[in-house]
Symmetry: C2
Subunit: 224 residues, 2 copies
Amino acid sequence: MRHRTNQEMSAVWMVKVVGLGLVAISLSVELLGWLGRRLRPRKIRNEVLFFPSEMSCVEHIVNPNSPYTCLCPFPHGVETSFSRLLRILLSASSTLDLCVFAFSNMDLCRAVLALHNKGVIMRVLTDKDYAAITGSQIGVLRKAGICVRCDGGSRGSVYMHHKFAVVDGRLLITGSLNWTLQAVQANMENVLVTEEPDLLRPFIKEFDRLWVCNEPGQHHSLGT
Amino acid sequence: MRHRTNQEMSAVWMVKVVGLGLVAISLSVELLGWLGRRLRPRKIRNEVLFFPSEMSCVEHIVNPNSPYTCLCPFPHGVETSFSRLLRILLSASSTLDLCVFAFSNMDLCRAVLALHNKGVIMRVLTDKDYAAITGSQIGVLRKAGICVRCDGGSRGSVYMHHKFAVVDGRLLITGSLNWTLQAVQANMENVLVTEEPDLLRPFIKEFDRLWVCNEPGQHHSLGT
């Protein structure tokens, strides 16, 4: 084996160092890309709607396949807090858990029925006293075959006062707004829409707890 | 200058490569740490409280400097949804904007008065009709010198139905819970606590809008 000169050795080592450097750079670039993807916060949906909502026609949202043009006197094609709420609700594709004190708004009732007809699995939890008042749409939902459970009325003047919905187990809709015409069109109200897991998860858990507690014929402790 | 042997050359280059490697590793560790700090999403506070709250003594929270031991019959030192809500409210150090339909809970009133006495700047917006009913604490707040404005009553059966508070312009407290004893101790209710800017900002804006709209003697449009 012949002895290599110093110059030859330097060149060989230089090639090794440069090669190693290139490998290190390419690995670093890959690692940085992976870290960037992993650490970048995923954009979580958060939205707030305020009421009273402006009046507008929502026929095209609740009944998008109708062949008829709506002739109602309200402005058409205007996006309002209420039309936004309807769109968010109607985005449900698998489940809708609804926990609402007062439910008399007919457009919201039509939206819920449309989801039921589309095959969305629905659970409705409402207040016993309010479910029985004139104008409540709870009877309509029951007649359509939607599973409804009542809470509150059996324990004196205690109300199931929540106003929240969980869409597809991924989106929470909650706030001060009861599902009534008065709340939508007249009162100062808020509705908060969020995918934030730390807010969503407790509501899912609480819905399940209340749902089990109010199984017909069952007597469960309601301790919180 | 003497010629170095191949072995000597290899050793010199080996030292160079190892040195370069060590520098690269230490730089990488520093870069990863920086990236981690920069890209890790800041932990935003999100919390949900459900009611009815268990009954417990809240004297030590509302009146922490009292020299007396509370002798009330409720459990002492128990953390409940209500004690948590009180603690969060009492964390206010500069401002509290309160927008609540019904305010008759005396412990919440004491908490608000304690904040006022501490120098926290307070703005209270409430419903005109509810402010006038027996048991409402709005008169007590007014007498203490807290700035209160009313909304709703002047426009027929329209309610200022919000139930939210903004603490120090950084924390939103909102939900279904009116500030009454019934809501805290009996009803099924929720309170959501969040620092999430996308949820907080709209509430701050809406409070300011309603505050200006309800300036005494002013007539502003309430269009949303």
